[in-house]
């Protein structure tokens, strides 16, 4: 209300001759230019001009104030920023301006510092922020300078300071609202995190038993595959002594781990002896794998594959024996390639009973031959003092091999490993993330980390075991991989196992010979063929006959062809030659109706429609004749030929320069509908050939000349006078209209376009999808679909016949 009053007042004053109209116009222009410049600083020249004008009279100050306030009200922060800067300049100068502004200080603050939360600052965020900060700075300065003289200014400053809690020392000048918002956001986030963490903890509690079960299962599997060394300490010193040397020879029976231990024991023994006699040179080569955290499995599993004892100094018999042993060991290896404790033990116990006997025999023999050694053996577990023992342990060659005894264990182990790595591991990873983000339940986190490590160790262990799965697995891929096929396809593959170990053949119901089932089948087929009574034999017979016949026919054909159409170039008459030539050129078309009538066009009969005679008793259609379709006659002689050529896509573009600086993108073959025939152009769009350039110029000149005589203004005048459309709107007027639109858009080209910023992909899609036409089209098709369905459903019902 007061504003309006003041405007009236200003108007009144301006009427009262203190204001010059032209000056006012220039003022308005200056203010508009300044505020729509889009720059963050004011043009010094322009502001100086404004100041100079304002200096002359207070009336101008009022006028400027109104102009500026109007600009401050614009929904564009850049405009507001510039307007505020003008305000600031004038505020520092004019008392009148100060009075006016202070009177309207509430509005001013609302427009610049967003004191009213319902009126946020308009879009370009950067300038809005800048506006806020600059205004607050300015208000502070104003208050220091003029606060005493202008009460409301001081009040406004206090209001900002106390009520809006603006810390004027804070450069960023965040209001309480902003701070609150931030706090709220943070608390929200925290609560969300906490909720997540709680849910995760719940989930953990639920799944923990499963994971633990998985862990214990896999642990048990490992136990079964490879007992822990602690539990494996079967050998006591006594048995060691009594077993004596034969432990070395029967090492392949007792298993690799035993062997290792044995070696270790030997080693200590030897060292012990060394002290006494210092005569024995013992060499134990034992490659040890690094194992993590006292995990002795590797130590054990890297059992001895080859054991070779080398006697440097001893009897030939011993040598022999050792050779025997090594050969035996090698034999054992050949059997199974690798040795695993349990399976090996169990399996070989059956298989190699004979070997044991042999060993015992050997032992006896040994005992007889070398009593000294026996006593040594009894005392120290050594055959003799003076030989070197070199034991080579080959870790690479050892694997756990899958067989029917451990296949279940391995299966479970793989299942568990897969479960652990694909399900639990990522799950735990996720939980850890959530919990560590929320920063709660630290002991839970620790526990989770432990479990994670345990899960990882399962994988490592399985890797370290080097399990040799059944061949089919190996064919399928690395057994360590977590892929699903390893597990899903196992039963399927049973039948395809190409090689079955001999000892298993009986189980599979196979003979021991090498021929596989496929060869057997072919064999049986051959057998059948031999039998003349079988169907296969007769079929084969007929086949043979047929092929003979075909061969014969082929030969005949070739012969006849040669007879009829021998080499034309050499021996034929010219007419025939021509005919042949024509024939070769003549098109070949499939037979059709047109060919049917081709040689007798007079026979063509127009197609008729024969109406069936009415079955009705008394209602008879008037014309019951046949309808002859004369027009259809031509159809019979016509033939639709499909384009047999190959479509070549146009590889060039028109590339004529367009108004907007781009090049024409049309891909016409010969002629662009807008820019004429297509000519080679360079990247700028100018024609490559000189003549083309001239042509283009000529055309342009023509266009210009045609439009020149059509003076748009004049045409428009004439049009408005006569009311006849002379086409000014279509040629130049259109251009002008466009220009108008552009002008509107480019009215303030320096300002950031607020609307443009909202041009997101979503908005663009919206434009397309929510388009009126598109909507109506979609709705129409849906309606059509509905009605169609409806008709299909109810169209036959008498009840509904008239409803739709």
């Amino acid at each position: 209300m007061t504003r309006r009053k003041r405007v009236i007042c200003v108007w009144f004053i301006s009427m009262s001759s203190t204001l010059d109209h032209t000056v006012c116009v220039t003022l308005a222009g200056l203010v508009e230019e300044l505020t729509t410049s889009g720059s963050q600083t004011l043009d010094k020249e322009k502001i100086k001009k404004i100041k100079n004008i304002c200096r002359t009279s207070d009336a101008y100050v009022e006028h400027v104030f109104d102009l500026v306030m109007k600009q401050l009200d614009k929904e564009h922060s850049e405009v507001r920023l510039s307007a505020f800067q003008i305000t600031n300049e004038l505020f520092m100068r004019s008392h009148k301006f100060r009075e006016l502004l202070v009177d309207d200080f509430q509005t001013f603050l609302e427009l610049t510092v967003e004191t009213d939360h319902e009126q946020p600052l308009p879009p370009p965020k950067i300038s809005a922020k800048m506006l806020r900060e600059k205004t607050l700075e300015a208000v502070q300065i104003w208050n220091e300078k003029y606060g005493k003289a202008y009460k409301k200014l001081a009040l406004g400053y206090n209001f900002l300071k106390h009520c809006k809690k603006i810390d004027f020392n804070d450069i960023h000048a965040r209001t309480v609202v902003e701070r609150q918002r931030e706090e709220e956001r943070q608390t929200k986030q925290r609560t969300i995190l906490l909720e997540k963490a709680n849910a995760a903890i719940k989930e953990i509690e639920e799944t923990m038993p499963d994971i633990e079960q998985c862990l214990t299962q896999s642990d048990n599997c490992f136990q079964l595959l490879l007992p822990h060394p602690d539990e494996y300490d079967i050998l006591t010193p006594d048995t060691e002594n009594t077993q004596g040397i034969n432990t070395a020879s029967s090492s392949q029976q007792t298993g690799s781990n035993l062997m290792v231990e044995k070696c270790q024991n030997d080693n200590t023994d030897i060292a012990h002896q060394k002290k006494e006699t210092s005569n024995v040179n013992c060499e134990v080569v034992k490659p040890c794998n690094k194992d993590d955290d006292g995990n002795d499995i590797q130590n054990l599993e890297k059992g001895i594959v080859e054991y070779s004892g080398k006697l440097t100094n001893g009897t030939a018999q011993i040598e022999q024996k050792n050779k025997f042993n090594t050969s035996h060991a090698k034999g054992g290896n050949n059997d199974d390639e690798a040795e695993d404790k349990e399976e090996q033990e169990e399996k070989e116990e059956e298989d190699e009973d004979g070997d044991d006997d042999d060993d015992e025999e050997e032992e006896d023999f040994e005992d007889v031959s070398n009593t000294e050694a026996t006593s040594m053996l009894q005392d120290h577990g050594m055959v003799a003092w003076n030989y070197n023992l070199s034991i080579e342990v080959n870790p690479d060659a050892i694997h756990i091999k899958e067989d029917e005894d451990n296949t279940d264990i391995l299966q479970t182990l793989y299942d568990m490993q897969r479960l652990a790595m694909t399900k639990y591991h990522p799950q735990i990873q996720k939980w850890l993330e959530i919990l560590s983000k929320a920063g709660v339940a630290i002991d839970m986190v620790k526990k989770l980390i432990d479990i994670k490590q345990a899960l990882e160790s399962i994988k490592e262990k399985t890797n370290d075991l080097r399990i040799q799965r059944k061949p089919r697995e190996i064919i399928r891929g690395d057994s360590d991989s977590d892929s699903d096929e390893d597990f899903e396809d196992v039963p399927e593959k049973e039948g395809y196992e190409p090689r079955i170990p001999d000892h298993l053949r009986k189980e599979y119901g196979l003979d021991c010979d090498d021929s596989n089932s496929l060869s057997q089948k072919t064999k049986s087929q051959d057998d059948e063929l031999q039998d003349p009574t079988s169907r296969a034999a007769s079929v084969a017979h007929f086949k043979e006959k047929l092929s003979e016949l075909q061969d014969k026919l082929k030969n005949k054909e070739i012969d006849s062809f040669h007879e009829r159409d021998p080499e034309p170039s050499t021996s034929q008459s010219p007419s025939k030659k021509r005919k042949a030539e024509l024939l070769s050129r003549a098109p070949k078309v499939p037979y059709g109706l047109d060919l049917y009538y081709w040689d007798r066009p007079e026979d063509i009969v127009a197609p008729k429609i024969v109406r069936p005679e009415s079955q009705h008793r008394f209602w008879v259609p008037v014309e019951n004749d046949e309808i002859v379709l004369e027009g259809m006659k031509d159809m019979v002689t016509e033939r639709a030929i499909q384009f047999s050529g190959k479509f070549e896509p146009v590889k060039w573009k028109c590339r004529a320069p367009l108004m907007n600086g781009k090049l024409c993108e049309r891909q016409d073959r010969y002629k662009c509908p807008f820019h004429g025939s297509i000519i080679p152009r360079d990247t700028e769009g100018t024609p490559a050939k000189q003549e083309d350039i001239e042509k283009e110029e000529r055309r342009k000149a023509q266009v210009a000349s045609t439009s020149e005589w059509r003076d748009t203004e004049l045409m428009k005048d004439i049009e408005t006078a006569t009311g006849i459309d002379l086409g000014s709107a279509s040629t130049r007027g259109k251009g002008k209209g466009k220009g108008k639109g552009k002008g509107k858009k480019k009215k303030y080209p320096n300002l950031t376009d607020i609307k443009k910023q909202s041009n997101t992909s979503r908005r663009r899609l919206e434009k397309k999808v929510m388009n009126k036409n598109a909507l109506s089209r979609v709705a129409g098709s849906l309606d059509a679909f509905d009605s169609k369905r409806y008709k299909e459903k109810f169209g036959n019902n008498f009840n509904y016949a008239y409803t739709s």
Binding site: K51, R55, Q106, K148, G156, N158, H162, C163
Partner: protein
């Protein structure tokens, strides 16, 4: 003014005519005081103000934080004078109201006593000198408004409007509530004693009714004010008479007690004849009412057309109450205005709002010239003078 003086000297006018004319002139020229300030104690919004009727010197104010402040308004001829606070019942006090203080009122005969009611469901009677409550009335519900008669000699009742539909009368003599006036259907937002008849009480409620009570007759109300004056219009098909089409959240008697002004959330002001209980049908136009609790507007005192000062958003609208003419808008607050109170002796207006300012509006009558003269005297030294000067720099 000179003509009034001479007329008075001649005896053609009654002596009151001069004072009335001058008062009216002053009332119509209220502006934000340039020189005077009230010390800023309240941290949050101020809900209520009251000036002591005995000396007109102490301003009582109650804030939304439960703080009650008493300021000394005695003016000293000085340029920037801030009215100091005499005493404060701050948050540190043991007796402070827990929640927002909605109404404060001086005892009409002595500044040694004042009353305050609050959202913490209590009405406290304070001993000003000790700054301790002499008595505390506790209610079951939030207290919206209370009022003590300024003219009562035969009773000492405080009318209390609460969230319950009844008006409770508390007797200061016995220290307990004596009556309950039943009649309203919804919470009572405003109660006012008539300044003319010591037993006449008006109450405005959320059920959009205004009731006049004679407290001697507790059975039923004297009358229910009807905005249509009994004429059944299109809108008044209901049996009950309503004063507004929304809540009635402000009531104020004119100083002579002949008229009652009411303010409702239907954005209307209405003027009622208290004698007949009729709506005078004065049209004030639309007056924005943003308050959903009581809106404490005031009516001037001693002017020949009296005016109503009505909080309207962050401004105060001034209306001629008899003609409904819009007089002016007082712009000064930066947030919603909660209350205004009129100083009857100096024709000043005090207003307070959510921006925690208490603003003084005083008549702006030619003092400018005095200031200008003063400025001329000490032109060079006065900073204010410099600030007011134009400072066009020559370099431009």
């Amino acid at each position: 003014m000179l003509s009034f003086l001479s007329a008075r000297e001649n005896g053609t006018h009654r002596p009151s005519a001069l004072s009335r004319a001058e008062a009216t002139r002053r009332i119509f020229s209220l502006e934000l005081s340039k020189d005077r300030d009230v010390q800023r104690i309240h941290d949050s919004g101020v809900n209520t103000l009251d000036i002591d009727p005995v000396e007109g010197r102490y301003l009582l104010s109650g804030g939304t934080e439960g703080v009650i402040v008493i300021c000394d308004l005695e003016c000293r001829p000085q340029e920037n004078y801030t009215c100091p606070s005499v005493c404060t019942i701050g948050r540190s006090s043991r007796h402070v109201h827990k929640y927002s203080v909605d109404t404060v009122q001086w005892y009409s005969h002595d500044t040694g006593l004042f009353t305050s009611s609050s959202m913490d469901k209590t009405l406290k009677v304070w001993d000003t000198n000790a700054l301790k409550p002499a008595d505390v009335f506790r209610f079951e519900t939030i207290v919206y408004d209370h009022n003590m008669s300024s003219v009562a000699t035969k009773h000492c009742l405080i009318a209390v409007g609460t969230i319950h539909s009844q008006v409770v009368l508390c007797d200061l003599k016995s220290g307990s509530s004596t009556h309950v006036l039943r009649g309203h259907k919804a919470s009572v937002l405003s109660v006012k004693w008539s300044p003319r008849d010591e037993f006449l009480l008006a109450s405005g409620s959320r059920d959009s009714k205004i009731m006049l009570w004679d407290v001697r007759r507790a059975k039923s109300c004297l009358s229910i004010l009807d905005q249509h004056n009994g004429e059944k219009g299109k809108g008044s098909t209901e049996a009950v008479n309503t004063a507004h089409n929304g809540h009635v959240n402000g009531l104020s008697f004119t100083s002579d007690g002949l008229y009652l002004v009411s303010f409702g959330t239907d954005d209307r002001l209405r003027l009622w004849d208290t004698m007949s209980g009729k709506n005078t049908l004065v049209n004030y136009g639309k007056v924005d009412n943003v308050s959903r609790k009581g809106s404490k507007f005031t009516v001037s005192y001693g002017g020949s057309p009296d005016v109503a000062f009505v909080p309207m958003g962050s401004n105060i609208a001034v209306f001629d109450i008899y003609t409904g003419e819009y007089v002016a808008t007082l712009i000064g607050h930066y947030n919603n205005v909660n209350c205004c109170t009129f100083h009857p002796l100096y024709q000043e207006l005090y207003s307070a709002g959510n921006d925690s300012n208490i603003l003084i509006w005083e008549p702006e009558l030619g003092q400018k010239t005095d200031v200008a003269e003063k400025k001329d005297n000490k032109q060079s030294s006065s900073t204010v003078g410099n600030a007011v000067q134009d400072t066009w720099s020559d370099e431009d």
